[in-house]
């Protein structure tokens, strides 16, 4: 009954009118962020972090606001997938496969409501899973030493790289770029600068928020200049919205199965929501067989990826909170938020800052209900917002990013650095080099090096210490398997092509 007592504490924190108000604001903002093409969840959360910080919110409030945005963005991603055939974020890609055909058949309203309900089921089950699993995992994580942590970080980079790119060398290189950037700055043990090239601005290191906003938001501007904002605001008309009870009942088992698959995919460090929605869709497709009508607007084809995606989003919080290893790009950004708020994720978080953790979980549950209410009757409002043309949206996002980063330090140097990261992000994405490992590298580089150094100090420089425990060896094997396996499975795991007009 520990969980119920803890939940009571959590709701005590989360049910204050002010926090509730923040949760509703976060859900609303998040759905918009998720729905707008070119403004994904990681991007949106990254831009909002410095602004939240400047507003002077305390740790719990900031966390509640940002996780509501995070869950909201996961809901919102489906709206543009269904109406415009453009995924609002990467995990929503699978929703276009059946969502857009269904919308073209004149059932856009049904598709939106069905996917909203599926999102709710996935996210709710995942939050419950998080409640049950996270404290247990936190207890296990107490036994992790530096060798285990080093192997765990490596595992995160390997599995993330394996899934994120078609070329393993490029994924690994991306991680190296991030880790290499993280090394810049004053070294904690000697107090001497490392790799700064004598530039005083670099003594503090490079702030990960600068890198995140540059790589995601500023790079997006260049992509829109390249495409001239084509194909952003044309799509299917939305008629009257009713609740398709028949479809919801027919897909209830699909939703449950997809939530389970998505949750497990989300827990794997580095894998994340894209893998969750992909696996959920493919599982349901093979269960339904060739007569299931997948790809032509089948209700199950909408319910499965949405439940999987939202469930993975909840699952990804498990390794992030208990181990400090994020499971996806967006949880990496949430980790950045925690670090900015001076909260160190890890096993001690559950004992020392129980109010933060359980307040967070309670607000996730609340956010979920708010989102269901928002996304079913009020979906038309979001559809209207979707019609904002790219030539207003992108400059607006850029200006907000500038103000956000400027508010961090008030220095032009960070702004110029952010533009540099934007240019870098454009070229990396053009060359099919994933950018999420870069972010993860900048975020985790310091911790990973710390783990390595402590391991080396403990063992007096013996490298075999890194393989000294069964847990560490297990992580190493999983890391190597996670890195090598996609090379052989690439043919098998081919993503189905999107629906062409």
């Amino acid at each position: 009954m520990d969980i119920l007592a803890n939940l009571a504490i959590g709701f005590g924190v989360a049910l204050s009118p002010y926090t509730l108000f923040l949760a509703i604001c976060g859900c609303f903002l998040g759905t918009i962020i998720g729905a707008l093409p070119g403004l994904g969840p990681s991007n949106g959360v990254a831009i909002l972090i410095p602004i939240t910080f400047t507003l002077g919110l305390d740790a719990t409030s900031a966390l509640v606001l940002m996780t509501s945005v995070y869950y909201g963005a996961m809901y919102g991603g489906r709206i543009s997938s269904i109406l415009l055939n453009i995924p609002g974020d990467e995990p929503a890609l699978m929703t276009t496969l059946d969502g857009y055909p269904m919308a073209k058949q004149g059932r856009a309203g049904d598709a939106l409501v069905l996917s909203g309900v599926a999102s709710f089921v996935g996210a709710l089950l995942a939050t419950i899973g998080l409640m049950l699993l996270a404290p247990t995992l936190a207890r296990v994580a107490f036994y992790f030493g530096p060798a285990e942590y080093f192997a765990l970080y490596l595992l995160a980079f390997c599995t993330l790289g394996g899934m994120a790119s078609n070329n393993q060398a490029k994924a690994a290189l991306a991680a190296c770029i991030g880790l290499g950037i993280a090394m810049i700055g004053v070294d904690s043990s000697s107090g001497l600068p490392r790799l700064t090239g004598g530039n005083l601005h670099l003594y503090d290191g490079i702030d990960f928020l600068v890198a995140i906003v540059g790589l995601f938001a500023i790079a997006e501007v260049f992509f829109f200049i390249e495409s001239h904002g084509k194909g952003s605001s044309i799509g299917v008309k939305l008629e009257k919205v009713t609740i398709p009870w028949k479809d919801i009942m027919a897909t209830k088992w699909t939703m449950l199965r997809a939530s389970g698959v998505g949750f497990i995919a989300g827990i794997l460090p580095g894998a994340g929501a894209s893998l969750g929605s992909f696996l959920a869709y493919m599982t349901e497709k093979s269960i339904a067989g060739p007569n299931g009508g997948f790809g032509t607007g089948a209700p199950k084809g909408i319910a499965a990826p949405e439940a999987g995606n939202n469930s993975a989003a909840g699952g990804a919080l498990v390794p992030m909170l208990t181990l400090g290893v994020p499971g996806s790009g967006t949880t990496a950004v949430l980790l950045a938020l925690l670090m900015t708020l001076n909260i160190t994720p890890g096993p001690t978080l559950f004992t020392e800052r129980a109010d933060v953790v359980w307040g967070l979980i309670a607000s996730l549950l609340i956010a979920n209900f708010v989102l269901l209410l928002m996304n079913v009757p009020m979906v038309k409002i979001f559809v209207k917002i979707l019609m904002v043309p790219a030539w207003v949206l992108l400059p607006g996002v850029t200006m907000i990013s500038f103000v956000g980063i400027y508010s961090l330090s008030g220095s032009y140097f960070d702004l110029l650095l952010m533009i540099g990261f934007g240019v870098l992000g454009y070229f990396l994405r053009k060359l099919d080099v994933p950018t999420v490992p870069v972010i993860l590298g900048i975020l985790l580089g310091g911790n990973m090096e710390d783990a390595l150094r402590r391991a080396m100090t403990l063992s007096d420089g013996d490298p075999m210490y890194l393989f000294s425990s069964p847990i560490a060896i297990g992580f190493w094997i999983a890391a190597i398997a996670g890195f090598v396996a996609p090379m052989f499975l690439r043919g098998l795991l081919k993503k189905p092509a999107a629906h062409e007009d």
């Binding site: 207003v392 850029t398 032009y412």
Partner: protein, 162 residues
Amino acid sequence: MPSDRIFGLICLITAVAYIAAATQIQTNLFSGEFLPKLFPLMIGGVAAICSLSILFKPDPDPAWPGPATWGAMAIAVLVLALYAVFLTPLGFLLPTALAAGILSYQISPRVRPAILSGLGLSLGLFLLFKYALGLGNIVAYRIPTGEKLWDAFTILIPFVGH
């Protein structure tokens, strides 16, 4: 093919330079001789191996944009860089209106909507930040002096600025 070979080569040179810089890291009694260099050297080594792999097993070329688009993107970078240095001396309103308008024009080349979105975004965001979010200290309006403007501009000129 050539894109990846060039990319691999650039990364290889960077990785080698990184390794060279890592061997020069200063150490003292507290940190020990070896530990501050270990992880940077490992990163540089892995990066060099990856670069070689990209260099010798390149992917097909992506579809690069035409010269006109490159020009538009270069202008966008220049505008953003100018915006970054003039935000302090000029305040929020004027630079934002100009930068947002030019960016809008680069995305969709029509003059009237671009001017309108520049003005609208500048004023709208100013009101949002100053009155709704209370960030008046960041988005203040300032009257610049010629000297301050020149100071800001020199930041962008290598070896002259700070």
